[in-house]
């Protein structure tokens, strides 16, 4: 992370025209953001290299079936040609058996893929015939992102709120109840929570009310079908955020400046909001970036239990069926989401913590 407090000689490596910008706070921020965005290119490149290698090392071909009669060798061969899998994955530079360099070739699978990605062409899915990876990602991501964003919107008020309340009422019944809830929520896997909620709020509620009042067990629409998936997805991050906020707040309220604030006779609301929260939220904000990235990249379990056609399940299905272009496309998307979420967090620091300088 390129966040270093109080380092001198900022922008020393920049060309003179840009160096002038670093003198202003907003100029420094703009340069920081641009530089981080440019860094995403090599990051994505290395993500591709690693994914490409691992993916081809995994046993099995996209054309193997889970049982029964397999495709004939002829069909497999023609499919390989159809999707370019007959070409070498990588071409080595050096042949150790002969001691000669191997002539450079452009048309191995890896270089062709990089070339296509540079043109924003992520290829055709192997599994879904005639569909591009871009189409598949655009079809499934909105579902995942909607649920992820809604879950995130629950985390901030509930997670932070519970944490602060528990800290301010430390060792009271409120603290114990809150933290007890957080411990339970964090220790139940979400497939258990999801399944239990379906039984309670769908099946049993349907039976008890004769079908008048229940939550849908599956499907996606902008209605009550979102409640259970969002809650299932949000529960663990809420618990985690609440515990973190509590710990951080407890540390802050023992600081001298908080004691001073109390001593000045400030009302509790001002002490908490202006002095305690502003400081105790810094570590919480750090985790919210990755949490956001985690939520909007989908949970295979939540998407399977509630039959949501999202990207989390699409990714797992792609891996299981060795749909190479889909695996790569999804990984690239995820890596960009993580990189952008971290960038946003770094920028937020500037506003939360005046000590932070971006370089």
């Amino acid at each position: 992370m390129a966040v270093i407090a109080g380092r001198p000689a900022r922008g020393a490596l920049l060309p003179p025209q840009l160096r002038a910008l670093t003198g202003t706070r907003s100029g420094a921020l703009a340069i920081f953001v641009v530089r981080r965005i440019l860094w995403m290119v090599p990051i994505v490149f290395f993500v591709i290299v690693i994914t490409f290698t691992l993916m081809h090392l995994a046993p099995g071909s996209p054309w193997d079936k889970g049982g029964g009669r397999q495709l004939s060798d002829t069909v497999v061969n023609n499919l390989n040609i159809r999707y370019g899998l007959n070409k070498p994955v990588f071409t080595p530079w050096f042949d150790f058996s002969t001691g000669h360099f191997i002539p450079f070739r452009w048309d191995d699978q890896f270089k062709l893929y990089i070339w296509n990605v540079a043109h924003f062409d992520f290829g055709l899915s192997y599994q879904y015939q005639g569909k591009t990876v871009s189409t598949l990602l655009l079809e499934s991501w909105p579902y995942t992102a909607t649920i992820g964003v809604l879950a995130f919107l629950l985390i901030i008020p509930i997670g932070v709120g519970l944490g602060v309340v528990a800290a301010l009422r430390q060792n009271t019944r409120i603290d114990y109840i809150t933290m007890g809830f957080a411990t339970i929520a964090a220790s139940f896997p979400n497939f258990v929570i999801g399944a239990l909620m379906v039984v309670a709020f769908s099946v049993l509620a349907y039976r008890a009310t004769g079908g008048n009042f229940y939550l849908p067990a599956a499907g996606f629409a902008m209605d009550d079908s979102l409640i259970m998936p969002v809650v299932t997805l949000a529960l663990l991050p809420i618990a985690y955020t609440a515990r973190l906020t509590r710990a951080s707040t407890l540390e802050t309220i023992r600081q001298d400046f908080v004691r001073t604030a109390w001593a000045k006779g400030l009302p509790e609301r001002l002490v908490v909001v202006r002095h305690v929260l502003k400081n105790s939220l810094i570590p919480v904000v750090t985790t919210l970036g990755p949490t956001f990235a985690f939520l909007v990249t989908g949970s295979v379990i939540v998407e399977t239990v509630f039959a949501i056609p999202g990207i989390g399940r699409a990714f797992v299905v792609a891996i299981e069926s060795r749909d190479y272009p889909m695996i790569l496309g999804t990984t690239i998307l995820f890596s960009l989401v993580v990189a952008i979420a971290n960038l946003v967090v770094d920028v937020l620091y500037v506003f939360i913590d005046p000590r932070v300088r971006l370089t």
Binding site: G60, S72, N78, R82, S202
Partner: protein
């Protein structure tokens, strides 16, 4: 042989009746079923999985379909056919006035175009082998075509024995007599296609090597123009497919005005959806079978349907001691199949130590060579003197709950009944497929076959020499078996044919290259207001009655 299973009618009225008392209004004639997974392609020629075929057979008609009792074929796209005396030329007389869903007439040229699209090596359709590329005249060069050369692909396609002498006659020439070819003509991938629509969707004429353009039409409901009873109204990717009646279909309009196939992968989720009234038809997840059986309401909505399938254990005949027939037979005879069906499958199946499943011709359980008999099994193993060697063998197991449960049961049976401890080798599914294709395994279970059509050729061809490492994992190579099957496949005399297949089945059982285990049955739930389903053994396992939705209807309910 008598045919065991006739079409099961679950309707208020008697079989064949059309009583539609209490019919719900047309806007309520909606059937909501779970198809499990989105089809990988909506082009029937490219479909290989059951969840793909499920949509394919609604949107496209083949020349024939299986009769409800599975005894023969009945006309759909064609009304009759003639076979030349040498058995090499099939002339199909197409249905007069048959129309596409957009109203244009279906002509013989569409059938030629569709079959050529299917047999285009550049598209590499999964089901070309072995029904077509080794049967249709000129098709055997399939694997040798240079699929990067349009002229080579065109030359191959033009050389195929497919022709349309007039608009209502479709002629198929074969390489060798094939008595089963009428059944091949029932397959879901052997359909007509519309050249004008495919080219329009591709943005104009395209080279025969361009697989991407050739498939552009199949991802858009508007360009999926079929000749089947239903057409696609909506594709909500990975969520559902909505089918509505094809207004130009030749048969009387069906009652069902919408069929919605949901794509819920998790059986428990589908079960919850069924219980909350969001689905009308589901397959019951294995874990919930006992609950459904004991539930007073649900048990009344449950149906148990035999499937045209059989599961078996493969044994690698190239590895000692499994190269010894007596050792293989000892393994086969020491598994209590009734216990397997009751304890593991919760009664959803039929223990079967012979090959051909119940519900099609050739079903005959009189051969008890592989039947459960622990004493005889022990005796066989003792005589062979290879007990210690057998204990070193491993049972290759896919890393899925179902496979692990089944194989643990098999290992327990061998331990109890044979005194041999065989270890499970549990690895991920893709690796298992790779290993069995290379013949790198000792014992592998369970694998099996779901029939494409109720004809024995579909089954016996699995174990002929040369099919090694593709379902015939254990690599049986028995020239006398090959000879019987090749002759039976070509034989047009029903009695002679049945007798030869019967002999072939005996050889298969006696050789014990595989140990036959059980025929899975499908346990489905169907809401009581869904009536008139014609359930047959050739239906999709999770979609009872899907071969004949024209008889089904929804009654009034709250």
């Amino acid at each position: 042989m008598t045919l065991a299973t006739a079409g099961v009618f679950i309707a208020a009225c008697g079989p064949g009746g059309t009583t539609t008392e209490n019919l719900a209004s047309p806007d309520k004639q909606i059937l909501r079923a779970n198809n499990g997974t989105e089809p990988n392609s909506f082009d029937p020629t490219q479909q290989t999985y059951t969840y793909e075929r499920a949509v394919g057979i609604q949107t496209f008609d083949s020349l024939f379909r299986a009769k409800a009792d599975g005894s023969d074929v009945e006309p759909v796209g064609a009304t009759s056919y003639n076979v030349s005396p040498d058995g090499l030329t099939y002339t199909f007389h197409l249905r007069q006035n048959e129309k596409w869903s957009d109203g244009k007439p279906v002509v013989a040229g569409d059938w030629v175009y569709g079959w050529k699209h299917f047999l285009n090596p550049a598209l590499a359709a999964g089901y070309v082998d072995p029904f077509f590329d080794q049967t249709i005249k000129g098709a055997s060069g399939y694997g040798n075509v240079d699929v990067s050369s349009a002229s080579a692909v065109d030359a191959y396609l033009n050389g195929l024995g497919l022709s349309a002498p007039d608009d209502h006659t479709f002629v198929v020439q074969l390489d060798h007599p094939a008595a089963y070819f009428k059944w091949v003509a029932t397959l879901w991938m052997a359909v007509p296609l519309r050249k004008d629509i495919i080219e329009q969707a591709a943005g104009g004429a395209f080279a025969s090597t361009d697989a991407t353009k050739a498939e552009a039409w199949a991802n858009n409901a508007a360009t999926i123009v079929g000749n089947g009873p239903y057409k696609i109204k909506e594709i909500a990717s990975k969520d559902h497919v909505t089918l509505v009646p094809n207004p130009n279909y030749w048969a009387p309009a069906p009652h069902l005005q919408q069929i919605i196939y949901y794509e819920i992968a998790d059986g428990n989720t589908a079960y919850s959806q069924y219980q909350t009234g969001a689905l009308d038809v589901i397959g019951v997840p294995l874990a919930d079978v006992t609950v459904v059986r004991s539930d007073p309401k649900l048990s009344k909505e449950a149906i148990l349907i035999p499937t045209l399938s059989q599961y078996w254990i493969s044994m690698n005949t190239t590895r000692a001691p499994l190269d010894d027939k007596n050792v293989r037979m000892a393994l086969a005879k020491s598994v209590d199949r009734d216990k397997l069906v009751n304890d593991i499958e919760h009664g959803n199946g039929k223990s079967l130590s012979t090959f051909i499943p119940k519900g099609m011709s050739g079903y005959d359980t009189s051969d008890n060579a592989q039947s459960f008999d622990p004493a005889a099994a022990k005796q066989l193993l003792a005589t062979s003197g290879k007990k210690d060697a057998l204990a070193k063998m491993k049972l290759l197991t896919r890393n899925t709950t179902a496979s692990k449960t089944l194989n643990q049961f098999l290992a327990d049976q061998w331990s109890t009944n044979l005194g041999v401890n065989i270890q499970l080798d549990v690895i991920d599914s893709k690796t298992v497929t790779r290993d069995i294709r290379k013949g790198q395994f000792d014992i592998y279970g369970l694998d099996g076959w779901i029939g494409d059509y109720p004809d024995q050729q579909d089954w016996f061809d699995i174990f002929v020499t040369g099919s090694c490492h593709n379902l015939n994992w254990g690599c049986l190579s028995d020239p006398s078996y090959d000879d019987l099957v090749t002759k039976a496949d070509a034989e047009s005399d029903k009695t002679k044919r049945a007798s030869m297949y019967s002999q072939a089945q005996k050889k298969l059982i006696d050789n014990a290259v595989v140990a036959f285990m059980y025929q899975p049955y499908e346990y489905d739930l169907v809401k009581s207001y869904v009536k008139g389903l014609t359930v047959t053994t050739t239906d999709d396992q999770n979609l009872p009655g899907d071969g004949r939705y024209n008889t089904a209807f929804i009654t009034q309910h709250t």
